[in-house]
Subunit: 343 residues, 2 copies
Amino acid sequence: MIKPLIWENNVLKLIDQRKLPLTEVYVDVTNLEECFDSIKDMVVRGAPLIGFTALWGMVLDIKNNPSYKFDDIKKSADYLKSARPTAVNLAYEVDRAVKLAEDSLETYEQRLRVFAQDQMDLLFEHNLAMAKIAEKDLKEKFGDKKLRLMTLCNTGALACGPMGTALGVISHLASQGKIEMVYASETRPYLQGGRLTAYELCKEKIPHKITVEGAFSYILESNLVDAIFIGADRIVKNGDTANKIGSSTLAIVAKYYGVPFYVVAPTSSFDLNSSTGDEIEIELRPEEEILNALSSRIAPKESHALNPSFDVTRAKNITGIICEKGLISAPISSENLLKIVEA
Amino acid sequence: MIKPLIWENNVLKLIDQRKLPLTEVYVDVTNLEECFDSIKDMVVRGAPLIGFTALWGMVLDIKNNPSYKFDDIKKSADYLKSARPTAVNLAYEVDRAVKLAEDSLETYEQRLRVFAQDQMDLLFEHNLAMAKIAEKDLKEKFGDKKLRLMTLCNTGALACGPMGTALGVISHLASQGKIEMVYASETRPYLQGGRLTAYELCKEKIPHKITVEGAFSYILESNLVDAIFIGADRIVKNGDTANKIGSSTLAIVAKYYGVPFYVVAPTSSFDLNSSTGDEIEIELRPEEEILNALSSRIAPKESHALNPSFDVTRAKNITGIICEKGLISAPISSENLLKIVEA
């Protein structure tokens, strides 16, 4: 599996995701400023990976400045958080690093290293647990048949660090020799599927074809896909799921053709304070992502675009939600979701 | 309305569609070879427009060679047809030009000119008739409300010559002040929507936003669209419709949210020899259209793509099929389709 983040000889090595898939180069991060830049300039992307990068940045900072007082650490933390102010995992992980210093500064560097590694190990464990739950359910449905799976966006190691969610399921199944073909939907406008998921599939030598979102109906009607796996940015109490734009369209088409549609996300992605997807606000991103391609204008100068970043897949169109604690099966409701998540 | 083909002072002027939307330049065609090149090199696209271009190419050829015998004309025709061997309209129109010569070579140039102009006038009449049928049906459904419509691919004057089909409906309604907003789905991989439809909408000053195919569900669930209009490459006897990839996905999502979904195509696009969409073979186009953007590779070198050019929208997901003879309303069947088409 790809390692987008490597901690080695007191240097943080990050694969430069802006240059993938055609150029594979690691950026060395040796201090707080370089860590800030790598987050701000999107060398790293994916909520969990950004959080881990920040944790190792805090480790580098205290290693470089062993005489730091608590206020210095707090200042570094605020600086790192400002690299991407809306990234929830970034603030979450950095605040936890500060909390470790609050208790005591003794052996802080060492405790922080252990903490950073523990968080990555924990996510790996959770993601592996989810992959095994998916494997078991697929075995019940399809027996030992080699599977043809479909996914959208990038939910692999490149987004998560140690192991992916939906793409983690696919990696795991491939390692067991259980994959025949993966259809990677390209995921306009940013093409995370055609660039990053395809890159991970290449690295793991998993047979795959890139397709356009418009081909959802063609592919499912042609009976090319046994099951679909996507990740989640947020899952609310009734099972409604916010994920990359295209997910809800795919779920509706999957339901129409009777193709199982799974959401894979750790319990940390569940928001039990929201009752339904109607409470999820959808971020509208810059029009230029649609109007330009490779930084060149493709649309007329006077044209506008509507660029919602996410959509809400309704629980009734989901076959199963898989978290590290288990599988929430259709018909999905607040009741059977809480039974698993709060177990 | 844009004029992609102008016959003026014995010169055929074609807007170079490869350079749209950012550069608007006409190519002068003065002889058969230049006509062949403009078709082969895709200066023109769109089945009807290719056919008309060929007819004017035949006019130029006989004007330049008044001493031609029938065999020379036949030879020129075969040469033109070889520019795009799979374009049905090209062969159809060129064969009709040859047929005019078969009867007699007297006043052939003059008769051919009249014939070419008549074909364009007839398509304009048919397209205008379809637009008026759509207008009437929309008025019954929505009264005098200004409409928010959605379309896919390019089905405007750029494809048809004198006036478009689905985009022709939108142009016509806009000329009556009845359009509030048009959502132009960009239509990956070739981006006919984001480039060509957006260009036509700009030229006619019709308010519009370009969207990605993945946003179908978001847009329709958000209640941004009153009705959807698409064209057709082929409509078979039971109403199943082959059209640009993405159409069937959009129709399924539209049905899910209860948004009316119309197909607009002249009776010449109906294939009454096929019973259902299962008999339609779907062309698979080169993988590079997906793997590259603006001729630069964006996907990993080892990746493959699946690039179906069309899909089949099932009749049960269509609200109405509009041809110049009338509206075939849901539930669409062979019986009520034939009643209109064969009237």
